[in-house]
């Protein structure tokens, strides 16, 4: 069954509609929600929605509970290759918990929260942006980590990043749900504007694994569930461009690197010279890597998870 949770008029002969697929079986009361498409250029979650629903439809007899899938919280953005909400200035993931008396989109954010409230688990799938590729990972606010890490461990992801509490993040969907006791995990994986099927399959396996542990899925699950690295067992090193130019990569994403390894070069195509050799400052795993070649000073190039302190860039 597809339910419309928001339907508001657009100026000319169109409704802004936010819809969810509701799959229910058995008498179990557990409910999980899979939400994605908050940023219109992040499409990795689309495959997850498709594959999750496909597998559920084929084996619905093993479900005891409710799975709700929201493929596009920002349908205008997804359908127009726009990260934000067309005609609205603020990032959709910075306006939660919304405002029933505010702009249409703030009102929409409020209604989304009301609809998700009370779920036993919400997985909020993101896909970086067009600039960076991400290893499948959970992002968890340190304040909520105790409750959420056990669930994130089930999701067949490669990394759990426990981040500090930043006030600005209080306006995200995940934070807003967590504070009203609706447990929510943010999953980041892949890259904007693309679908990485392997990552999607990996996460879908993890969602079924989690449902099994939650006693709402009695079918088979993958036996090969990944045990993720956790950021609190090491440090996350950020590498930003020192100069503006064009990046020529030297390593692949999700690889182990040694201190001093060449990650990429920033070059000047006019002069044919290398402006910066970007070297790894540590031994570690490259879990974020820039793929978009044009960089300005400060552009993020990579994030490396390491067991040793980041120190100075080599």
């Amino acid at each position: 069954m597809i339910k419309t949770i928001i339907s508001e008029g657009l100026p000319v002969d169109e409704q802004l509609m936010i819809r969810k697929k509701v799959i229910q079986n058995g008498t179990g009361l557990k409910r999980i929600c899979i939400v994605t498409g908050t940023h219109g250029d992040e499409l990795e979650g689309q495959y997850v929605c498709f594959e999750l629903i496909r597998r559920l439809n084929e084996n619905i007899q093993f479900l005891d509970g409710t799975v709700e899938v929201y493929p596009a919280l920002n349908p205008l953005g997804v359908d127009s290759v726009t990260r934000g909400i067309p005609t609205f200035d603020l990032d959709m993931n910075r306006i939660f918990p919304g405002d029933p008396n505010g702009h249409l989109i703030e009102h929409t954010a409020y209604e989304i929260i009301q609809d998700l409230k009370g779920a036993d688990m919400v997985i909020d799938i993101h896909a970086s942006n067009i600039f960076l590729r991400e290893m499948p990972q959970a992002r968890i606010n340190v304040q909520m980590s105790k409750k959420l890490i056990p669930f994130a461990n089930l999701l067949n992801i490669d990394f759990i990043w426990i981040h500090d509490a930043a006030t600005v993040l209080e306006s995200t969907l995940a934070y807003s749900l967590n504070v009203i006791k609706t447990p929510t995990i943010v999953v980041e994986m892949g890259i904007g504007m693309r679908i990485t099927r392997d990552y999607g399959d990996q996460l879908v396996d993890g969602i079924f694994n989690m449902m099994k542990k939650m006693k709402m899925w009695y079918g088979t699950v993958s036996k090969d569930i990944s045990k993720p690295m956790i950021s609190t067992n090491g440090v996350v090193c950020f590498m930003n461009a020192d100069v503006s130019g064009i990046i020529i990569p030297s390593v692949s994403h999700s690889v182990d690197v040694k201190k001093g390894d060449l990650l990429c070069q920033i070059v000047d195509p006019f002069e044919g010279v290398v402006l910066q050799d970007v070297l790894s400052p540590v031994d570690g795993v490259v879990f974020t890597l820039r793929t978009y070649p044009v960089v300005y000073e400060g552009s993020l190039i990579a994030r490396i998870f390491s067991k040793t302190p980041c120190g100075e860039t080599v």
Binding site: E8, G9, L10, P11, V12, D13, L16, R83, G84, T87, F88, D89, L90, R94, I95, N101, G102, H103, L104, H107, N129, F131, T167, V168, L169, E170, S171, F238, N240, V243, S244, G245, I246, V294, V295, Y296, E297, G298, S299, L300
Partner: protein, 308 residues
């Protein structure tokens, strides 16, 4: 006046990105004024340019009072303005959501950091700001309720209203909030327009800044007192939302005084022209904000009215 490059960054193919500052007087860091931080803030850039123009003349006449330094930064994002984008040209991030900035972070964090380094420590900070909803405002001073705000000072601008509002979580990364947290009395001036120049409202804004500087004895420039500002909070504004979508046929705009029952706007069917909805004022008051785009979504803010 000293014109300085406050921040410079190379681009792969475009000209260098520069933030220019115009420094007047010497002495105590008295006031910093920031204009356009978004590429469509043309009204803000124009207003700031007029502030610079006036200060050049005042300085020539010896009317910037001794012991005061004034820094004006008319534009912090012309890379976007020159190509008709609102946010940062490369990655669409908003410089005014990056404060206090981080000099080792991403590009717009670095720009925010460099800008904040220049403007922090001033006694007063004035930003010419724009709003996230399209529309026209009554010129007003806006402050966040951080516990550090000083409403009495805000009234010195002589604008019709001073609006004090509770910050939302995302406000903690804007310039105004960080100015206050770091000890500067911060004011955002809303003159009513953004991507078009409205000379009348721009003049109200730049005169209000000169009035404030005169009142604080930073310049000597006698000017009429302006309004005895009314101080508002969000609760003093009645919000009227659209109950239909369509073509907006506005009959009343910002600054208009209205009576309960007055017809404010019609929403028209975009195919037949039939009136889908008539929007009437629920109260007596003054229109503080009016949506001013020709198309309107359903269930969105059309008007905010100050209750009498």
């Amino acid at each position: 006046m000293k014109q300085e490059i406050l921040f410079q960054m190379k681009s792969p193919y475009r000209d260098d990105f520069k933030i220019q500052g115009f420094r007047f007087g010497e002495g105590e860091k008295s006031v910093a004024i920031v204009g356009a931080m978004r590429g469509d803030e043309i009204q803000q850039q124009f207003t700031c340019s007029q502030v610079v123009k006036n200060l050049i003349e005042l300085e020539k006449d010896g009317r910037i009072l001794p012991g005061h330094e004034i820094l004006v930064i008319p534009s912090a994002n012309h890379f976007s303005m020159n190509i008709n984008k609102r946010f940062w040209a490369m990655d669409n991030t908003d410089i005014n959501r990056m404060f206090p900035g981080y000099d080792k972070g991403e590009t717009t964090q670095r720009i925010a950091s460099a800008l904040f380094e220049q403007v922090r420590g001033f006694k007063y900070g004035i930003q010419l700001a724009s709003f996230y909803m399209p529309g026209e405002f009554i010129p007003h001073v806006r402050m966040m309720d951080t516990g550090f705000q000083n409403v009495k000072l805000a009234k010195k601008f002589g604008l019709p209203y001073v609006l004090v509002r509770k910050p939302k979580p995302y406000d903690t990364t804007v310039l105004n909030y960080n100015w206050q947290i770091f000890g500067t009395q911060a004011f955002s001036i809303y003159s009513g327009d953004t991507d078009t120049i409205n000379k009348e409202s721009a003049k109200i804004a730049w005169l209000s800044i000169l009035r404030f500087l005169n009142s604080m004895k930073i310049i000597n420039n006698n000017i009429h007192d302006g309004f005895n500002s009314s101080v508002l909070s969000d609760n003093d504004l009645e919000t009227i939302k659209s109950n239909q979508a369509g073509i907006l046929y506005s009959l009343r705009g910002a600054k208009d005084e209205v009576k309960e029952g007055d017809l404010l706007a019609k929403i028209l069917d975009p195919f037949t022209g039939a009136v889908r909805s008539e929007i009437h004022s629920p109260i007596d008051g003054t229109i503080f904000f009016a949506h001013d785009k020709p198309l309107i979504h359903q269930n969105t803010v059309m008007y905010k009215i100050v209750k009498f």
